[in-house]
């Protein structure tokens, strides 16, 4: 397998210069030590071979771009995994709708992010199309999640989805069709942006499929020159196709206070509140150690970050961060616990980055034990 992969890479790289495309290799290595009753060493190595090419049609002014990323992942769970992370064809027309708008279309496999970023944020296969009129932006996307390898799938909505992950015979992840339509009005008043969107997903699993639909509203913008906020409200209907369908809601508040005079620091307050049957399509990472179910959850996050050495060339991209989180399961009325995460990230060069994170989760439930985790991340590009 290693030889096949090496031969594939060698052939790909040998052939690429002839087509005058830009190409490279990125290697990300994460080494983690999880400490609970016992200590467990976890490693994930990801090598990404990428290339892209772009050109502009002189007559129409349309900009075309083709990009692809092939990944090789080495983990304990699935030792060898080769996958296509991106295979995208894009075109952008700066003179759409009689020259008054810019339209963009992307086709293929790439990361699909819904208008809120809270419902779906996942690599899938499909199409997105947006048009920017200046005073109004429209967006449409549709796709299918079922061609993604199960090891890379974070589409975890139903018990069947979780079953796929733990079944070694399964190759592909959850099979769902999704569609979204959205509108954004930039700088509607006092530099405040407003967006509305409707998102739906159809579960193609033949036994008890669980479809859902979401309506979202996002308001964001500055309050002062250093204080910014984002407010999201999502209403969900899930499961949509069953008699006992229920209403759910997500309210997400994110406030950032930037303090450039105080060691280039920033304060962050983030509140994630989900109620009823609300369940996003992509399982979110809401903690460093504790990964709560996003259903009926209250999570408070208070964060502080700084880049104190902005004047020094070598360490100007060295940043420190601290996050304190509280988790509560609202449906059972239980405070899950508190989590503290401390981290340092250093982009030493344009092609070399280091990250070190350490965290501690203190549960408040008596049947749980405290957990710790230390994680080192190294990323380099060739």
């Amino acid at each position: 397998m290693r030889k096949v992969f090496a031969a594939f890479c060698a052939l790909s790289f040998a052939a690429l210069p002839a087509f005058s495309v830009d190409f490279g290799l990125t290697i990300d290595n994460t080494l983690g030590l999880a400490i609970a009753e016992t200590a467990t060493l976890q490693e994930r190595l990801k090598a990404s071979a990428w290339f892209n090419d772009s050109w502009t049609d002189e007559d129409s002014g349309i900009f075309y771009e083709f990009s692809a990323i092939g990944i090789y992942v080495l983990t304990e769970l699935r030792p060898y995994l080769f996958d296509i992370e991106e295979l995208r064809f894009s075109f952008r027309n700066p003179r759409a709708v009689g020259g008054s708008a810019v339209s963009s279309t992307d086709l293929g496999r790439f990361r699909f992010v819904d208008q809120t970023g809270s419902i779906m944020n996942h690599v899938s296969d499909g199409v997105t199309s947006s048009t920017d009129y200046g005073f109004l932006r429209t967006k449409f996307m549709a796709g299918y999640t079922g061609l993604q390898l199960v090891a890379e799938s974070r589409i975890l909505v139903s018990a069947h989805d979780f079953g796929l992950v733990y079944d070694p015979a399964e190759v592909l992840g959850s099979k769902r069709v999704f569609v979204e339509a959205g509108l954004e009005i930039p700088e509607l008043f006092l530099r405040q942006n407003l967006s509305v969107s409707a998102f739906a997903q159809i579960d193609t699993y033949y036994l008890a499929p669980r479809h859902s639909m979401y309506a979202a509203l996002v308001l964001d913008g500055p309050i002062t020159s250093t204080l910014y906020y984002e407010l999201q409200g999502v209403l969900s209907f899930f499961p949509l196709n069953q008699v006992d369908k229920q209403l759910g809601a997500l309210i997400l508040t994110d406030v950032n206070l930037f303090l450039p005079e105080a060691l280039n620091s920033a304060l962050n307050l983030n509140v994630y509140f989900s109620a009823g049957s609300y369940s996003p399509l992509t399982f979110p990472s809401l903690g460093f150690i504790f990964m709560p179910d996003p259903v009926n959850l209250l999570r408070l996050n208070i964060g502080y970050s700084m880049k104190p050495f902005a004047e020094d060339e070598l360490v100007k991209n060295l940043g420190f961060r601290a996050d304190l989180r509280m988790f509560a399961a609202l449906d059972v009325g239980v405070l899950n616990g508190f989590e503290l995460e401390l981290g340092a990230d250093w982009k030493i060069f344009s092609d070399l980055g280091l990250g070190l994170s350490a965290g501690f989760f203190l549960p408040t439930e008596t049947d749980k034990i405290p957990e710790g985790r230390v994680q080192l991340f190294v990323s380099t590009g060739i």
């Binding site: 495309v21 830009d22 002189e58 060339e313 060069f349 344009s350 092609d351 380099t380 590009g381």
Partner: protein
Amino acid sequence: MKHRTFVPAFALLVLMAVPAFSQPTRLFDELFRTDGVGLATAAWLVESAVSPEGFVDSRDALDRLLGRPGLEAYKETAGNARLTRAEFAHIVQVAFNIPRGMFASLIPGPRYALRDLRYLGLVGKSGDPEDLISGPEALDIINRVIENGYRGRTE
């Protein structure tokens, strides 16, 4: 190849400051029109932007540029040979002493120079490294380099 239509502030200011029909005016006029900047013109643009005295003589610019350590490979290149986007990025990185990445330090050259300048936001994200650099894009890069405070870093 279509290029950006905006006029960099740096070039506008320079155009207003120099007398009509002078050498800089002629060279700027050429730059605005060309889809492929030649090595000699690039040398004049870069050395003029680097120099604290302002515009340099176009006849001396190429010698000054090629005298910089790291650009010896261009000595075999004809003055009117048109540069690629990556080659121009390499010249700019060396002339302005712009920080290099790990691989640009190990294997100096156009390939990694372009990536470094892209990372620093001095060159647009898209565009083939092997495409010829147009005059307006070259001016845009020099404008961004100056705006980001890289002028005066030359050793």
